[in-house]
Every structure is written in structure tokens, then in C-alpha cells.
Assembly symmetry: C2
Homo-oligomer: 179 residues x 2
Amino acid sequence: MDKYYTLHVAGLTRELPLCPVNEHLDIAAFVMFSDVELTIACATELNKIAPDHDVIITAESKGIPLAYEMSRQSGKKYILARKSAKLYMKAPIRVQVKSITTARIQELYIDKEDIDCLKDKRVLIVDDVISTGESLNALESLVEQAGGNTVGRMAVLAEGEAADRKDILFLEKLPLFFK
Amino acid sequence: MDKYYTLHVAGLTRELPLCPVNEHLDIAAFVMFSDVELTIACATELNKIAPDHDVIITAESKGIPLAYEMSRQSGKKYILARKSAKLYMKAPIRVQVKSITTARIQELYIDKEDIDCLKDKRVLIVDDVISTGESLNALESLVEQAGGNTVGRMAVLAEGEAADRKDILFLEKLPLFFK
């Protein structure tokens, strides 16, 4: 039988399916794609508690609707760090990142135009979930390499031990499910 | 010196950088990420000419902000076909697709929950650019496998020969740049 975790966030309730990572651990899948109501509500709540910033950055792909919606509401530009170098990139910079949901080393890229948007700016890093912090570290490294100043690290959910971190802002905790 | 193509679309003007595909061909890079004003305007214009539909589907990643914004404006749910199978997918279906911007075979996946949203529904396929039509074909195949009925194929731009197609709706033509 499928198991679920009931999440209350930003005034909404969602049933998150539990997915096995390995024989000892399940995680609750939090996917904002397809859920515009949830994306709008979370973006509104995150913008309320966000430190002053000039630009938002997130990572492909799960952070895209959230960063887009925060940007739409606040008028602050959002930058997307991509998982691979694209044909259209003229002079990309790159960092490596280990993702919990794909279990392999990924890379993140931003292009020269994005670097120009980040340089000497107050940058807000946003993502759907902060878990191990690997993705966050990679984004922070990109911001640093681009000459930007990270002023905030935000997510809708802080998963597992990330909920104890004092250097991030989030709306709700998300437990890990040990078997 | 960098070259650009001046695009007028949805009441806005943008300078698209020309990027070499090979020694004979440049393409103009149309990237909606970071450009909320453009995303909103294009979504509004596409929604105006869209056939009646129940649900929108697009492909990761470039179509995400457009599909999200069309969904936000219209209230119709959007589905995202992902480039790889994810941990959270319980029973995904898959198709193969060849992308012009990455020049290799990619796969697209949707999960059981998405399939349930598409089944017996009027489905609108949307993307930022229709070029070779490979991505469009892959999405149409996914919709068919899911038991949905494709009622429209839309893009902001139709590139090269795609502009002569009678089975797609688009806002503007985008030339190819042969050298």
C-alpha cells in the first residue's frame, strides 16, 4: 500500500508520497510542478520573510516555478543555474553538485549574462527543498564565482537535519523516514 | 563581434544572440528563463488563440515558465514531461526525443499521476520553440500513450521550416541563419 506524509505549508495541505531511497530510508516527494496554487502560496510566504535582495537564483529544474513566481510577485529578476552547458552559452562557469534524488554527481552552469546580473549584487538563493545542502553549496559557489553576495538561503522545506540549520530560512520541516 | 536577431513578439522586442550549431548554420537563442515580462506576455497571447483544452503539457526545461504562466492565467493544470526518471516516479512511461540544442538523444518521462491527468482529456502541447518537431512528436506520443487527446500544438516561435506547418499555432517565425 502506498504511504503518504501529510504536509501543511503556506496555508495548504498536500499528501506527499513516500519513496524509497534505499532499504533503510524513505523520503517524502515534494514536487511543485503542476501545482500552481501551491507555488503561488509558497512564493508569497517566502517573499514575506526574504531578506532584501536584488536578484534570485535557483537550480534546474525543481526550483524553476518557485523562483519564477517569487520573481513575478516581487519584480526581482531570477537566474537559473542549468544542469548542462547549452549551445547558447558564450562563456559559462561551472560547479559540481551531488543530488539526493538522482544519487550522482551533477554539474550546474551559468552563462556570462547571468554572471553580469549577479556581480556586486545581493543574491537570494531559493530552492524547493534543502536537504543535504549540496545543491545550496553549489549555488553559493556559483554566486561567489560570479562576484555576487549571497544575502539569504531559502527553501519551502528543510528536510532532515537541515531543519536545525541557523543559516537558512524555510516555511516547514520535512522529516526523513527511517525504516 | 557578437551578432543578434531582433525579435518582436507579444508586443515586446528582444535581441537574440546568434549561436553556431555547425560551420553552416547559426540559430538565434530564445531563452525565456529570467524574463518574466516576456513569459507573461507570450502566455497571454498563446492563451488567446489556444483551442479549448483541459490540461497543458510541456517538456523540461525551457517550456516550464511558459506552461506555468499559461496555467496560472487560465486555471488549466500543466503537466511536465521530465528528461529522466525520478526517484518519486512510481510507474513512469517514456519516449525518446532528439534535441536540436543538445544534439543527442534525450528521453522524456511522465509518471502515473500525470497519466491519470491526461487520460481522456483534451491536451494542449506547448513549448517555447518548435523547430525540427522532434520534441513535439515526443510529447504527442506521451499524450497518446497516456490515453489523452492532443487538441493543439503551440509555441511562441516556429523556427525554420516549422513556420510552414499548418498543424501548429505560434506567435512569430524565427529564421535559421545559414552561412
